[in-house]
Symmetry: none
Subunit: 145 residues, 2 copies
DNA sequence: AATGTCCTCACCCGAAAGTATGAAATCGCT
DNA sequence: AGCGATTTCATACTTTCGGGTGAGGACATT
């Protein structure tokens, strides 16, 4: 959360610098002050909106990369398991099917605590906080169908 | 959907009014132009970011067809939504994206209790017991993708 | 005006999920 | 033989979810 605020701050600061650089040397001679202010407001409003939209998706938590193109690495990650162990993948699939931890424990013949351990570990590896988020991210990564 | 755009417009408009009110009567005498511009930029950037943060809404299976034109609202209602109301569908989509109830409440400008109500209702309609199960079933039914 | 649906919100309570920490057994690898 | 990864399980604790119930306002239909 905080990293985004900080990143956001830097972006804003950079834009402020840019605006100041453009300041009285270029625009002021051709535009009125109101239009200038309006432009500033619009640019920053849309920038803020874009940043807010881009960096608050739960599935993107932890990765601050900016996608400029439609990427191929997704298919590369399809075969990769993102460091998930076989058992964790198994639990993840059952989670995606909508089973509760207790049901998963029963299916895998292990204790509830074990399932919790697996899920906690895979949440760490996927960098998520909730099981629904894990399902969403795993689907993006192609870990599950 | 539109309510947020309209709300956004009003917020921006309100801020413009505020800025104009403050314009040359108050700040200009005490602050330099650079600081003034910086304030404008900051306020609008953060406003945009705030709006963008809440407007993390995907256009999904059902409404993707609606957005293109405006002539088939009837078809949209007759589309198979398994009896889910628009709001419930909205909550369901955000659940599928991995948001917590509190996050959904923040994004939709409603209280946590309201989100709980919606989710409980859609769980009843989908005949499921957990949110992960709801996501799984909704995906099967093609309500989300 | 009455009805029904939807959206909103509240409170309480129990269940499920998740965090933190530790630990033991197994297996592959060097 | 030691190391790391994996799997298993445990306890204790906090947070989130979900059920139950009720209720008021907005809106459209009848």
């Amino acid at each position: 959360m905080w990293r985004y605020i900080i990143l956001y701050g830097f972006v804003v600061a950079g834009l402020v610098v840019i605006m100041n650089w453009l300041d009285f040397h270029f625009l002021m001679h051709s535009l009125s002050m109101e239009i200038y202010l309006g432009l500033v407001a619009l640019i920053f409003a849309f920038t803020g909106g874009w940043i807010g939209w881009r960096y608050t998706r739960p599935s993107m938590a932890g990765s601050a990369q900016i996608e400029t193109t439609s990427d191929v690495p997704t298919t590369e990650l399809t075969n990769d398991t993102s460091g998930l162990s076989p058992r964790e993948l198994e639990v993840l699939e059952l989670i995606a099917m909508g089973f509760s931890n207790q049901e998963i424990a029963d299916k895998l013949f292990v204790s509830l605590n074990t399932v919790k351990s697996h899920s906690s570990n895979l949440f760490l590896k996927l960098d998520v906080k909730r099981r629904t988020q894990a399902v969403s991210k795993a689907r993006e990564l192609g870990l599950i169908h």
